[in-house]
């Protein structure tokens, strides 16, 4: 490039023929076009990555929102569930529901229950969660015992995979998870309209499980909800108060500088270091329960605080000084000026910043791994002190699970997480558009 320009100087002297001149100009224009193309290609590549990322997640995960179910006619045999007829809670909880589900399926397929190998093959089509589903039916209403009901039961992970096309029928039988007999059964059940794909409500309600078909994000979502609640309750008041002080009251001195430098540095500290802080201070020193949403919320609060402070300061700075001067002029005190005028006018900006901070906190995983939120939690946490897990941590645990059925679940949970984040971000954008004020 440099030598071209130098040659330009030579041509300016007029010693070079005209054709040569135009060739040089052409070359420079070509270089210009090339450079412009590089720029467009760079943006194109980056945008392509955005679509690739979303495309890959959606492609892997859409099927998680559907689940193969079996509409079976189950006879709630009293002799199996509760011979004594006492309807004792313990008896009802521990009855052999697996047998009921199995017999219903065997009857439908016309398999002799005495034929053990065949029985086992047929049973492999049912999820282990089916027994729990039947137990829940009975626990809800013990009067079904003795009657025959149509119940929707979960199919096993392999049956589900076949229905969704994840198991290739052309693969030789010996290397397929389901043999020819089982595939034929599934086709038969499908033709009879017993086997069907339905919307997967379990994905939203279940907790941790070792079987993909009974694993869901319900428990993790509650944990995340508790943490977000703690973040909102702590980070917003603290952050707004700190920002107000720094913008409106703080004198220009060393101490104020120190606080400002600290806030900027905290915003850039790797999130995993906050996890170490949580482990050492909140769990080891303060003795708060490990794996609890409380500790997770506190760590996320400290992480979000810089974001909230920086956003709030920007919003406060955007309020023109004339407003303050007018308020002070009519006799308001400094504090009254701030609380009656500056804060309400800065509120939309503060809310937008808060939402952005929350988005960050909701997607954060690494510090939560340090403080024991990587837990196999089956029950809904009732309070923030109970063992809990969070949405992104649940995704991490599923991503490292061995069963193939979990890939689909992981991507499905990721879609839900991204959906939340997009929703929150759009709220922030809409609020900014709606309430933005040009002074």
């Amino acid at each position: 490039m440099t030598d071209q320009v130098q040659r330009m100087d030579v041509t300016a002297g007029g010693r070079v023929a005209k054709s040569e001149k135009s060739k040089l100009v052409k070359r420079r224009y070509a270089a210009e076009r090339r450079f412009r193309f590089y720029g467009m290609a760079a943006i194109g590549t980056a945008v392509f990555f955005v679509f690739l990322l979303f495309g890959s997640i959606v492609n892997n995960g859409w099927s998680a929102f559907f689940q193969t179910k079996l509409d079976l006619t189950v006879h709630f045999d009293e002799s199996v569930i509760d011979k004594s007829g006492q309807r004792d809670r313990m008896t009802l909880l521990t009855a052999n529901y697996r047998k009921l589900a199995r017999e219903a399926l065997l009857a439908e397929l016309g398999v002799d229950p005495a034929d053990r190998p065949m029985r086992r093959k047929a049973e492999a089509l049912l999820s282990r969660g089916a027994a729990i589903q039947l137990r829940d039916v009975v626990m809800d209403d013990p009067s079904v015992i003795g009657t025959t009901q149509k119940v929707e039961l979960l199919a096993s992970g392999n049956a589900d995979a076949l229905m969704k096309g994840a198991i290739d029928r052309d693969v030789p039988e010996s290397r397929r998870q389901l043999d020819n007999r089982q595939v034929a059964w599934l086709d038969e059940l499908r033709a009879k309209d017993i086997l069907s794909l339905a919307f997967n409500t379990g994905l939203f309600t279940y907790g941790a499980s070792s079987q993909p078909e009974t694993a869901g994000i319900g428990v993790a979502a509650i944990g995340s909800f508790f943490m977000m609640l703690i973040v909102v309750l702590l980070a917003v008041p603290l952050g707004v108060a700190a920002a107000l002080y720094l913008e409106e009251f703080a004198p220009q001195n060393r101490w104020t500088d120190l606080i400002e430098v600290n806030i900027n540095n905290l915003a850039a500290v790797p999130s995993i270091v906050f996890g170490l802080l949580g482990l050492a201070v909140f769990i080891n020193f303060a003795g708060l329960p490990r794996s609890s949403a409380l500790v997770g919320g506190l760590v996320l609060t400290l992480m979000t605080l810089p974001t909230v402070i920086i956003a709030t300061r920007a919003a406060i700075r955007a309020v023109p000084p004339s407003i303050r001067e007018a308020a002070l002029g009519v006799g308001a005190s400094k504090m009254q000026t701030v609380t009656h005028h500056v804060l309400p006018l800065a509120l939309p900006g503060i809310l937008t910043g808060t939402i952005i901070g929350l988005v960050q906190a909701l997607g954060e995983t690494a510090p939560l791994l340090m403080i024991g939120l990587v837990a196999f939690v089956v029950d809904y946490p009732a309070t923030p002190m109970d063992p809990a897990t969070a949405l992104p941590v649940q995704i991490y645990m599923w991503a490292t699970a061995a069963e193939r059925g979990f890939v689909e679940r992981t991507a499905g949970a990721t879609i839900i997480l991204l959906g939340f984040l997009i929703l929150m971000n759009s709220t922030a954008v809409i609020m900014r558009r709606r309430f933005e004020r040009k002074w």
Binding site: F249, A250, I259
Partner: protein, 486 residues
């Protein structure tokens, strides 16, 4: 009364005090001929502050000090023989505290059984549903009874004193309602103190990070010499098993981890810098408003996606793709490798490079461009020979900030980089990073007396220092550059 209950009552009393104070001030304003200095609301707050704050500080102080006092008293009450026998006092106290939880359920005959030797303390407690160790001895039971009684008494006194302070404060605040009283000034002073307290949380957090990481690291360096940690080339911490305390049976060389971190970050920068920089140049110099308004938010989406999503993408889609692609051209790439993790991390930090560079390029004064155009340079020549040299320090700062992001990133490398601590030049092999090892040393059972757990804090300290240094250096460069044109 539980502690939560006390706090709740205090809160309710505060709210009630506000309404009472406001009402009273209002009534007095109407009745008195003198003009009030402060508004009724200020008087309300004034009463609230007097009702709540002294009692609040008393409770907090009590909750911190009282358990220490009780512990001291109980420790002193232990018989000489117990402490003389060489048993650790803190172990005895742990058992005593466990015992004190169940001691209220014991009845007369239980004591008889223990003193006659018919049942051990452990058996008796188990029958009450309280689990204690087998080292529980009868004399500890006496200490436990004392502990329980003192704690209960302490709590009773706390409730009593808190109540007195609360009522006293309320009465004092109430007396302050007068036309001349400067209630507003007092309230605003307290509010300002509150704001100052809130702003120190940032400093406390930094101090907390530094202290917690430092203390545990010092503990670690007591077991493993710093030279072995910083210059060791073998990372092999072994499993931390109970009873295997000591630094001799594990090697904690940080160099393989640093190498992995640096290599992956380098690959990430090689992806992110060209794409991010060219995007920024195009958006600030060429693109019209329309393209800008679409492309910029699209790029920023990349910054908003949680890193766990990138990690999953790398694990499920990109890693296998790269492995297959490498297989086609005869280059052996493992599914989790430097390339996989580095490339996906590069995608993640594109927006960091691009948006910062965009700001910096836009900040180059227009006069420089116009001067260049005036000499006959094309747009790309202007960018390459005038704008970029002018923006270079700022761009370097942006790249350094992106690098610090890459070094501290965890979830992508946890899922896509592998766990084998290698020092290798082959980008197709898997390496591991500092962050991966922090995670793997701290998940599962923790023992805070073994180097296997403590090493995570030493790693965290290294990470903190490195990223902090990069950030400070980058900000310094960016700020210095900005001053040039302002």
């Amino acid at each position: 009364m539980t502690t939560q209950m006390i706090f709740l009552i205090l809160l309710l009393a505060g709210v009630a005090a506000f309404f009472y104070g406001r009402m009273r001030a209002r009534a007095m304003t109407v009745a008195s001929a003198e003009k009030f200095h402060s508004r009724p609301g200020h008087h309300g707050f004034y009463v609230t502050i007097w009702t709540m704050l002294p009692a609040f500080f008393l409770i907090v102080l009590w909750l911190v000090v009282a358990p220490l006092v009780v512990r001291w008293a109980v420790t002193n009450s232990l018989p000489e023989a117990a402490t003389a026998s060489g048993e650790s006092v803190s172990l005895i106290m742990t058992t005593v505290e466990q015992l004190s939880r169940g001691v209220t359920q014991l009845e007369e005959e239980d004591f008889d059984r223990i003193s006659s030797g018919a049942m051990t303390v452990q058996e008796v407690m188990r029958s009450k549903g309280v689990l204690v160790g087998s080292d529980a001895k009868p004399y500890m039971l006496q200490a436990a009874i004392l502990d329980e009684r003192l704690s209960a008494n302490s709590h009773l006194f706390l409730t009593l004193f808190a109540g007195i302070t609360m009522i006293g404060g309320f009465l004092y605040g109430r007396r302050g309602i007068a036309p001349r009283a400067r209630a507003r000034n007092a309230v605003e002073q307290v509010m300002t103190l509150g704001l100052i307290a809130a702003s120190t949380v940032a400093i406390l957090t930094t101090a907390g990070i530094v202290l917690s990481v430092l203390f545990e690291s010092i503990e670690f360096f007591r077991m493993v010499p710093p030279a072995d940690f910083f210059f060791g080339t073998v990372w092999d911490p072994r499993f931390s098993a109970p009873g295997r305390v000591g630094g001799s049976d594990g090697q904690f060389g940080i160099l393989p981890l640093l190498w992995g971190t640096a290599y992956i970050s380098l690959v990430a920068l090689m992806v992110a810098v060209p794409i991010g920089l060219m995007s920024a140049i195009y958006m600030s110099e060429y693109a019209g408003n329309k393209v800008r308004s679409i492309a910029k938010p699209l790029l920023e989406i990349l910054a908003g996606i949680p890193t766990i999503v990138y990690g999953f993408f790398a694990l499920v889609t990109f890693g296998p793709f790269l492995r297959d692609a490498g297989g086609l051209v005869g280059f052996d790439i493992q599914a989790s490798s430097v390339l996989t993790a580095g490339f996906v991390m590069g995608i993640m930090i594109i927006p960091f490079v691009s948006s910062l560079s965009d700001d910096i390029i836009s900040a180059v004064p227009q006069s420089l461009r116009e001067g260049s155009y005036g000499l006959g340079a094309t747009q790309s020549e202007t960018i390459k020979q005038v704008i970029m040299p002018a923006a270079l320090p700022g761009v370097v700062g942006a790249v350094l900030l992106a690098a610090s992001r890459a070094i501290g990133e965890t979830m992508i490398v946890v899922l896509a980089a592998g766990i084998a601590a290698n020092i290798t030049l082959n980008p197709g092999e898997s390496v591991t990073t500092v962050t991966v090892k922090i995670v793997s040393q701290l998940t599962g059972d923790l023992e805070f007396n073994s180097p296997q757990t403590l090493v995570a804090f030493a790693l965290g300290l290294t990470l903190f220092v490195v990223t902090l240094g990069l950030n400070v250096f980058a900000l310094y460069i960016v700020r210095k550059y900005r001053e040039q044109y302002e």
